[in-house]
């Protein structure tokens, strides 16, 4: 199973390395969002500093949704997962492999965005460990949820509009937890940053269990 997971994740990352959608399109776009927030908030430095954590996660939410869409578009371009359904690869492996690929891409996105908010919003990092842990936790939770809902929308004709509608309410707790954890890590607020981080891991765990249980079913029914 592990070899299957790695095979799939490697395939997705290789495609990304060739096509450079995450790095070449989505990352610049989210950077642009970070800049546009400054316009919207009148480049008000104190306001941007307070909002840095939240704005960061809004940008991740947006970029991550696009990456999720992309991850499934490249599978459905030629036919609705037909080759996966025909192949002996287990649905569990497909779920985990897709999640792993998405996870790494979101991590890259976060690596681009973090310096951006540090520089542009003039915030200081109070706790690097917390920042890193929260970033990873958010990326894990995001990728698992994204893949679970992505496959649900994958076979449908209106997926580009339906997926965000289905996905964002589910991602709302991650946005909430991530923002609070980041505010704590950036020293904007002093409170339970680690608890919020663990909450994201819990969300990830719940959706992993659900995803493993439902993925075969969703793959077959779309």
């Amino acid at each position: 199973m592990l070899t299957e997971v790695l095979l799939l994740a490697r395939k997705d990352l290789r495609i990304e390395r060739r096509a450079k959608v995450a790095l070449g399109q989505v990352a610049p776009l989210t950077l642009l969002i970070v800049v546009v927030f400054a316009f919207a908030l009148d480049a008000n430095a104190p306001l941007l500093e307070i909002g840095a954590g939240g704005l960061y996660w809004v940008a991740v939410l947006y970029g991550g949704t696009l990456l999720t869409q992309r991850a499934f578009e490249l599978e459905t371009e030629g036919g609705n997962f037909d080759d996966f359904r025909m192949s002996p690869i287990k649905a569990h492996s497909l779920f985990l492999g897709k999640s792993l690929g998405l996870f790494i891409q979101i991590c890259v996105l976060e690596l681009v965005l973090t310096p951006a908010i540090l520089l542009l919003y003039e915030v200081q990092v109070a706790d690097w460990w917390l920042l890193t842990a929260a970033g990873v936790a958010g990326a894990v939770a995001f990728s698992v949820c994204g893949v679970l809902w992505g496959v649900m929308a994958a076979g449908l004709r209106v997926r580009s509009t339906l997926l965000p509608l289905l996905l964002i309410p589910v991602l709302a707790p991650i946005l909430l937890a991530g923002s609070r954890a980041f505010e704590s890590a950036l020293g904007i607020r002093v409170d339970a940053g680690w608890s919020w981080t663990s909450l994201m891991f819990v969300i990830a765990a719940v959706h992993t269990v659900v995803g493993l249980a439902a993925f075969g079913f969703l793959l077959e029914e779309n």
């Binding site: 395939k11 290789r14 096509a19 036919g79 037909d82 077959e220």
Partner: protein, 217 residues
């Protein structure tokens, strides 16, 4: 000889459209069956039903002895399906794609090399992104992905499309070799002479039914 595909009065619905409206047919091991008919006659749906990719609403369907109304997944590991579309990752190299398909299908990376060589794709094109290949070359990559999995039942939708004359003849040889080693082939085609030369039996579909069978038993 045993029946690879056995359909009795099979009705299948895609969305809310009845794609198969009562198909009666049985295909034996070692046959090369040509599906004929207009666009929309049900050829593609018939192939997909054989692959277990669409739900059977009525009738009885067996593939390799598995009841397709109970378990549509079981026979898939013996089946290779080549769709209308090539199902290729446009950004991968040809060799990477075939390697991925080979390994995903339970084979070895080396199967990919063999398969690409067999379809006669020039080796300088192996390390080129698929999006840079011509339509015929892409078709070859898709066929190579299939060969790498060594299916026992080949389901091919317009396999000759986009191929040049030499490659078409070559594909026919590949398929005949496969059949000689125990496989069965069902393919849909518009290409007259070349297909008839290949096939051992012709089914004509119309309105989601088999209306003519050259080799009825």
């Amino acid at each position: 000889m045993s029946a690879v595909v056995k359909f009795e009065n099979v009705v299948a619905v895609a969305g809310s459209f009845p794609v198969l409206t009562g198909v009666d047919v049985s295909v034996q091991e070692g046959e090369i069956v040509l599906l004929q008919g207009k666009n929309g006659a049900g050829k593609t749906s018939f192939l997909r039903a054989c692959a277990g990719l669409i739900r059977i609403n009525d009738g009885s369907a067996q593939v390799f002895g598995f009841d397709m109304r109970v378990d549509r997944q079981a026979p898939r590991r013996y089946i290779g399906l080549l769709g209308h579309e090539n199902n290729l990752y446009q950004d991968l190299w040809a060799i990477e794609h075939v390697e991925f398909r080979a390994v995903a299908g339970g084979g070895q990376k080396s199967d990919a090399v063999e398969a690409l060589a067999r379809v006669g794709l020039a080796s300088r094109l192996w390390s080129v992104p698929i999006s840079a290949l011509s339509a015929g070359q892409r078709r070859k990559v898709a066929i190579a992905s299939l060969i790498a999995n060594r299916p026992r039942l080949w389901l091919l939708d317009e396999p000759h499309a986009a191929l040049d004359a030499v490659s078409r003849a070559d594909l026919n040889i590949i398929l005949k070799e496969a059949v000689a080693s125990g496989a069965t082939v069902i393919f849909a085609s518009h290409e007259g002479v070349l297909s008839e030369e290949l096939s051992s039996r012709v089914l004509t579909l119309r309105g989601g039914q088999v209306v003519e069978d050259s080799g009825a038993h």
